[in-house]
């Protein structure tokens, strides 16, 4: 209690002067009983029940015409001796009353606030306003992840048209008109109206971006080209539209070992597992030579395919994941580069499939249905930005 004592006790202390002269003098002077005035004032203050009453009391005691103000004015007419005796008493009275008023006022204000707050009580178990929750499609998310992973290896992101001509889609990729591989592509065509004889089609792969980028950028090159591709094929595991990512490196002295390292590095970074084991199988693509198909080991966990381990390990098998190879010399030449000077590799992988393997979706068709329940479940928060520092993938 750091405050000075106040109230009747203080008054009484002040009233009992050691020589008893105070009371005498007061009685002489005053026809006024300071102690009684004080007691009465304090009682009235204590009885006040609202702030208006407190203000009224303040005015009646301490206002210009107030009773205590009146007492103070009497000091001016006193002899110095009397003033010395009466002054402290009257000032004491004023201070006591002032303090009592402030205290009572604070108490009343506190009570009023408490009453108001109590009346303002609300039921916070009621639901808060709902903010709609947006989402990023898994294909977009995985494209961002790929861009991030490959940025670390110095690959830029390139793109090209989806409505292509047969030169970029086939001929320049070493698939001339009658090439049997063309028939394997289940190509969507547009009616041919060009007298030139070139056919317009929906690109069957992202590989035409290789040609376009070589022609526009020259060499050396490191690019990935993600995007939509189209094949006239529709069943449980194929949709007529899907997404592919193309990779292309052109430089001097690039060989199959670089391709192997790049794919290993990419897949390890993408699946965030050190135990990714690749099996490279010789294959054939018209636009690469040598051509390599890449399998990766996997196992089943909880009914889902999980990438990792060697396909020859117990309980594991191999799954074909992407196609690749050293770029065919004809393709490099079609890209306007000298195949004696430049060589490189290319690869292509299905983005939808990569997304399914990583994030556990099992139905490709659902990717393109736009069912909001699916989009919210498998979609990503806008804050799940793939970054190298924060992790490229978003854990479940």
């Amino acid at each position: 209690m750091g405050r000075r004592a106040s109230g009747p006790e203080a008054l009484r202390d002040g009233a009992i002067a050691p020589n008893g002269s105070a009371l005498q003098t007061l009685t002489d002077l005053g026809k006024v009983d300071i102690a009684a005035t004080g007691t009465e004032a304090l009682a009235r203050i204590a009885a006040a029940q609202d702030l208006d009453t407190i203000e009224g009391l303040r005015v009646s005691f301490l206002g210009k015409q107030g009773s205590i103000s009146g007492l103070l004015k009497t000091l001016g007419g006193m002899s110095p001796e009397a003033r010395q005796v009466e002054g402290p008493k009257i000032h004491g009275l004023r201070e006591t009353v002032t303090n009592a008023l402030a205290e009572r006022k604070a108490a009343l204000e506190g009570a009023a606030l408490e009453a108001r707050l109590s009346a303002e009580t609300i039921d916070l178990t009621l639901p808060a306003p709902e903010a709609p929750k947006g989402s990023i499609h898994p294909v977009s998310q995985v494209m961002d992840e790929l861009a991030e992973i490959f940025a670390d290896m110095g690959f830029a992101v390139a793109s090209g048209p989806e409505i292509e001509d047969d030169w970029h889609n086939f001929t320049a990729l070493n698939m001339p008109e009658s090439h049997p591989a063309r028939a394997m592509h289940d190509t969507f065509y547009f009616p041919s109206d060009a007298p030139s004889g070139t056919r317009t089609l929906l690109r069957t792969h992202t590989s035409p971006v290789q040609i376009r980028t070589m022609l526009s950028e020259g060499a050396p090159l490191r690019i990935i080209a993600p995007g939509r591709v189209y094949r006239s094929d529709s069943d449980a595991t194929h949709t007529p539209m899907f997404h592919q990512v193309e990779g292309l490196v052109i430089d001097k002295g690039i060989h199959l070992g670089h391709l192997k390292w790049t794919l290993e590095t990419f897949l390890k970074a993408f699946f965030e597992r050190d135990d990714i084991v690749l099996r490279l199988r010789p294959s054939y693509f018209p636009f690469t030579e040598p051509s390599v198909e890449v399998d990766t080991g996997y196992s089943f966990e909880g009914g889902r395919r999980v990438i990792g381990g060697s396909g020859d390990d117990p309980g594991h098998a191999w799954m074909e994941l992407l196609g690749s190879g050293m770029i065919n010399r004809h393709v490099i030449a079609a890209g306007g580069l000298d195949p004696d000077e430049w060589q490189g590799f290319a690869f292509g992988a299905g983005i939808d499939r990569l997304a399914m393997l990583k994030y556990g979706m099992n139905d490709l068709r659902a990717f393109f249905d736009g069912d909001v329940r699916w989009l919210r479940h498998y979609g990503f928060s806008m804050l799940d930005m793939p970054t190298l520092s924060g992790g490229v993938g978003t854990p479940a």
Partner: protein, 797 residues
């Protein structure tokens, strides 16, 4: 391409197991799709001897057998086969075994009250043949108790995918050659003995189409008996998935599958005079062996006689002259057809066949004589008869390709330094001839090889890709630059901005039903319509992102969704100059149905309105870096939108950055949607690219020391005057002082004359060095009033 291990061993001396063969095939690029192991299929079936056979007490057609399975405990088995008898050695399926023909699991059971502990099997039940007359009868000395799979020499069947560059591996011999090169055994040489003709060929064999058919070899074998082919041929054909038909047909198929060499046998009786390879004549037709009639044209090569076409050359023989049981004399055809011609003809006729797939990839032009001799030998061995002298019309392309090679290339391109001696060994094993100067001569069966990278591939694939060491790409020097282009970064940014605003990203098909595309096609020069769509629903390339999102909206509403916020970023496909593709990046937003559902605080549900669309449009344009403060709200959002509740956002009168608003009821009807829909389409390609700043430092700025002042003005304006025009006029009244104008009231009714409305704006003024005095404020107010007056606005008293 399917073949059995036994068949492979006809061509390859090897002790390798099926697993080793499969692993090696994969490693050298002959992808194994499956290995079917009959041993697994026959697990649970053993050789057993019938000891006793007695009539079943309850059934006339059944017998009760006791069967010795070799372990000294004879089993009781009920059997219905008529040939079941004591002493017969057959095949018993034990409880637990799965019957190959129907997948049923055998169980111990009671048949008509008699216990049966297994089943004596027929050939058909074990899928060995179609025979179901009775149970299998094995020789009496067959070892009782031995697993039947072991006894039968269970023969695994490989199914491998042959890439289009390897016609040589469309025959078992070629596969064996690759395996031998990879160290899996020794390739057995082809035994082709010349069959001397015992008489001159009595029919002319000729080629009049040296381009399409450079060489046509043949001969006649007369006096044959066309029965069924021998079991070993049948076994091999069956492993390849072919049904044995008759000896002559089977043997031509066998030569094709064993050596990748298609051949054809004509029933000589059905030919009139000689046969000629020639171009088809317009209007000619041929009924092929598949029973279908094909219309031919002058671009196709056929084999014909005087009467007509007997063979669509290199693709399929004619029905008329095919061999039958009655055939006694045959004319054999072994020809070399131009691969391009075959590919084109096959494509035009939409006709695939085993012969076509080999000819169009390129058969070995050096294998005509050998092929003819092998086939003749097999026919005479099987069907008897005597052969004429061979006729050789035309000449197959004989020149072998050479490739200048440098063994250092293996490391330069293949990344693996393979010793020269090993490279030489591999090439020789594959049939290449390596000269002293490393000039490599390519064998005729490898039409795919034409340059040094092909040689690298051969060497590296046989040596093993596993051996190639991972080699890191060198890191680029210097400071890392963004790897995404500005457009790509814009796309990413908007995608996340839209998701942050509560929108769900969808990816919808690029193609639409033509009607839906047409609804959104105005003014872009025509739709892209596919010639061969997968269905009518996927016919037209989308001219806008909205129809795809609306179709998704409908599907969601059908599933009970009440409110939807969908967006998509992608291309719309327009016609550019000269009909070329013009693909433009756009962002579509569809806000459908309930914006907020009914709630304890806000009461009823609220539906989306045009201002929700406007809010999305402006927010996303702002994220895209568009100068949103300078945009004009103008009409003409398009016929798909509600004419009174839609607008475009333009930068200048011509550059439309976005359109937004409520969709027209007719649009909703076309998409079968019965809730109001607000939509936005952002034309990202129209947003002016921001000049890339030279550095990262922002323009200098210090917050003004003096507080901003706000003043309210209310104007009476004609009802038709857009509020935005008034706000823009006010804003422009004093650019030095006015920093913002906010329209906060639009009132019509009491106190406002008919035909007018009251618009109130809050104007924020920013003083500079010193505070405004009354005179200055008055002057600004006057300027504002004057500017508004130009629009017919009158300050309200």
């Amino acid at each position: 391409m399917k073949f059995s291990l036994t068949w492979l061993k006809d061509h390859l001396e090897t002790e390798a197991t099926a697993d080793q063969v499969a692993a090696t095939l994969n490693a050298i690029g002959l992808e194994v799709e499956s290995v079917e192991d009959p041993a697994a299929k026959l697990a649970g079936f053993r050789i057993a001897r019938v000891l006793t056979a007695e009539k079943h007490p309850q059934a006339d057609k059944l017998q009760v057998l006791t069967v010795d399975t070799g372990d000294g405990n004879p089993l009781q088995v009920v059997c219905g086969a008529p040939n079941a008898r004591a002493g017969l050695v057959g095949v018993l399926g034990l409880p637990g075994a799965l019957v190959p023909s129907n997948g049923m699991e055998l169980r111990k059971s009671a048949i008509r009250g008699v216990e049966s502990n297994g089943m004596m099997c027929s050939s058909r039940e074990l899928e060995l043949s179609d025979d179901h007359e009775g149970i299998i009868e094995l020789p009496a000395d067959a070892p009782v108790g031995m697993p039947f799979a072991e006894y039968r020499g269970a023969d695994p069947v490989f199914d491998i995918a042959i890439t289009p560059n390897r016609p040589d591996c469309m025959g078992v011999h070629g596969i064996a050659r690759d395996l031998a090169a990879a160290g899996l055994g020794k390739l057995k040489p082809i035994a082709a003995q010349a069959v001397p003709g015992s008489f001159p060929c009595p029919r002319e064999i000729r080629t009049d189409d040296p381009e399409g058919c450079p060489a046509f070899y043949g001969r006649i074998v007369r006096g044959v008996k066309n029965g069924s082919s021998p079991q070993w041929i049948q076994d091999r054909l069956k492993s390849a998935g072919q049904r044995p038909i008759s000896a002559l047909v089977d043997l031509t198929n066998f030569v094709m599958l064993a050596y990748g060499r298609p051949a054809h046998a004509y029933d000589l009786a059905q030919l009139s005079r000689g046969v000629t390879a020639r171009r088809a004549r317009e209007g000619e037709t041929c009924v092929a062996l598949n029973g279908k009639e094909y219309a031919l044209d002058a671009g196709m090569t056929v084999i014909a006689d005087e009467a007509g076409v007997h063979d669509i050359a290199g693709i399929m023989g004619g029905e008329h002259s095919g061999c039958s049981e009655a055939t006694t004399d045959v004319l054999l055809e072994i020809a070399y057809f131009d691969p391009l011609r075959i590919a084109e003809t096959g494509r035009k006729l939409n006709l695939t066949s085993d012969a076509r797939s080999r000819f169009e990839r390129g058969v070995d032009p050096g294998f005509l004589d050998a092929g003819l001799e092998i086939l003749t030998t097999l026919i005479i061995e099987t069907c008897g008869g005597e052969a004429s002298e061979a006729v050789r019309a035309g000449t197959p392309p004989a020149a072998l390709k050479t490739v200048a090679y440098d063994p250092a290339r293996a490391a330069q391109l293949g990344g693996e330094d393979i010793p020269e001696v090993e490279q030489k060994r591999i090439l020789a094993a594959l049939g290449f001839t390596v000269g002293a100067d490393w000039t490599v001569t390519v064998p005729g069966w490898r039409p795919d090889i034409d340059s040094w990278p092909d040689i690298v591939e051969e060497v590296v694939r046989i040596h093993g890709l596993d051996a190639v060491a991972s080699t890191p790409l060198p890191r680029a020097d210097g400071v890392a630059k963004p790897t995404a282009t500005p457009v790509q970064r814009l796309e990413r940014r908007l995608r996340r901005a839209a998701a942050a605003r509560g929108l769900n990203e969808a990816i919808t098909w690029s193609f639409l039903p033509e009607g839906e595309a047409d609804h959104f096609a105005d003014g872009n020069g025509g739709l892209w319509l596919l010639e061969n769509p997968i269905s009518e629903d996927m016919m037209a390339m989308r001219p806008s992102l909205l129809p795809g999102l609306l179709a998704a909206t409908r599907r969601n509403l059908d599933r009970g969704a009440s409110g939807l916020r969908l967006f998509e970023i992608g291309r719309r496909y327009l016609r550019g100059e000269a009909g070329r593709s013009d693909e433009r990046l756009s962002l579509g937003v569809v806000l459908a149905g309930e914006k907020t559902s009914r709630g304890w605080s806000n009461g009823k549900t609220a539906e989306f309105d045009a201002f929700d669309a406007k809010a999305e449009a402006l927010a996303l344009l702002a994220e895209a870096g568009a100068p949103v403060d300078n945009l004009m709200v103008m009409a003409e959002a398009g016929s798909q939108f509600h004419p009174g509740q839609s607008a475009t956002l333009r930068l200048g009168p011509k550059t439309v950055l976005a359109r937004f608003g409520m969709l027209h009821p007719s649009t909703l009807k076309a998409f079968d949607i019965d809730v109001p829909v607000a939509a936005v389409e952002l034309f990202l390609d129209a947003i002016p690219a921001k000049k890339r700043a030279a550095g990262f430092a922002r323009v200098s700025y210090a917050p003004p020391p003096l507080q901003a002042v706000t003043r309210d003005f209310a104007f009476l304006v004609p009802v038709a005057t857009p509020a935005g025009d008034l706000a823009r006029a006010v804003r422009g009244a004093d650019k030095a002082n006015i920093v913002s104008v906010r329209l906060f009231d639009d009132f019509r009714g009491q106190g406002v004359p008919d035909g007018q409305k009251s618009l109130a704006v809050e104007v924020t003024l920013q003083p500079g060095e010193k505070s405004y005095d009354e005179a200055e404020l008055k002057a600004i107010a006057e300027r504002i009033t004057a500017a508004a007056a130009k629009l017919g606005a009158v300050l309200r008293g």
